[in-house]
Amino acid sequence: MNKPRIATRKLTELALLTAAALVLGYVEYLIPISGVPGVKLGLSNMVLLYAVALLDKRNACLLMILKVGLSGLLFGGFSAMIYSFAGGVLSLAVMLLLYSIKGMSLIGVSVGGALAHNIGQILVAACVVGFRSILFYVPILMIAAVIAGILTGVTAKLLVAILSKRKDGQETIEETKRDDKAEKDEK
């Protein structure tokens, strides 16, 4: 009896996070912060950081695939989807790995993810046009990843601290409610 309730709840949570990631991605797409192609804040990465910290691995992967697929369909197109998929897979793998290391806060996880994301995109671009022509951008993209990674990491850390507390709170409230109901049913 309890299983479907949890599944619905997970489904809703995942849908909500996907929507949040898409909106953040779109906001970013609307306001380019710099003239350099490929440099962006990585706002939607905050949602993935949340997923890495508070969801299990499977759901975090699912969220990344949904985000990449849907934003590709909505804004980017097919070639943009390949770039963001490469970035997404690599960054999620690195973030999950770093998160499992002790003594690493979400900031380090975020910076590692941002670096991996940009490396993934550079690799795809290198496959398309060769490495030499984009070598100029590599240092810029790495430094941008460090800066953006710290910013989103700090934000995600605060966000997770607040949301995880809330989440636990809700869970206990609902659990007590359920227990109450079970007691009533027994009577």
Partner: protein, 122 residues
């Protein structure tokens, strides 16, 4: 921020430094540019002399079209079918401009077309 976070940040900066080094090694030195090399999807498409005014049209047949112009201003991407138009907005690579030594490429990533100012060998 914990100590291991700094380790990751250090790794990122190290990567940037390494890439910078590689780029400095591979970028052209003070040699005069004399030609333009055009690549399509990573393969050399053609090499053109800089002192000859001409327009190169690359039609890849699948809606991907690029028009490259070589004239007294240097080499420019005059027109491109791509969406972001970064290559067109980049303007001309002027072989006499010192900035060109830092970045001697025009890249049209969506179409896979790149233009390199290439030099008198040596």
């Amino acid at each position: 921020m914990k100590r291991r976070d700094w380790l990751i940040i250090g790794c990122g900066l190290l990567l940037a430094l390494l890439a910078l080094g590689a780029w400095l090694l591979l970028s052209p030195h003070k040699s005069a540019f004399s030609s333009v090399t055009v690549y399509v999807n990573g393969q050399v498409y053609g090499i053109y002399p800089l002192d000859e005014e001409q327009t190169i049209t690359i039609d890849q047949g699948n809606g991907k079209l690029n028009v490259i112009r070589i004239d007294e201003h240097g080499v420019c991407m005059e027109r491109s079918s791509c969406k972001n138009q970064l290559c067109v907005n980049k303007g001309c690579l002027d072989p006499n401009n010192d900035e060109t030594l830092l970045d001697n490429w025009i890249v049209c990533l969506p179409n896979g077309v790149t233009v390199e100012l290439t030099g008198g060998e040596g």
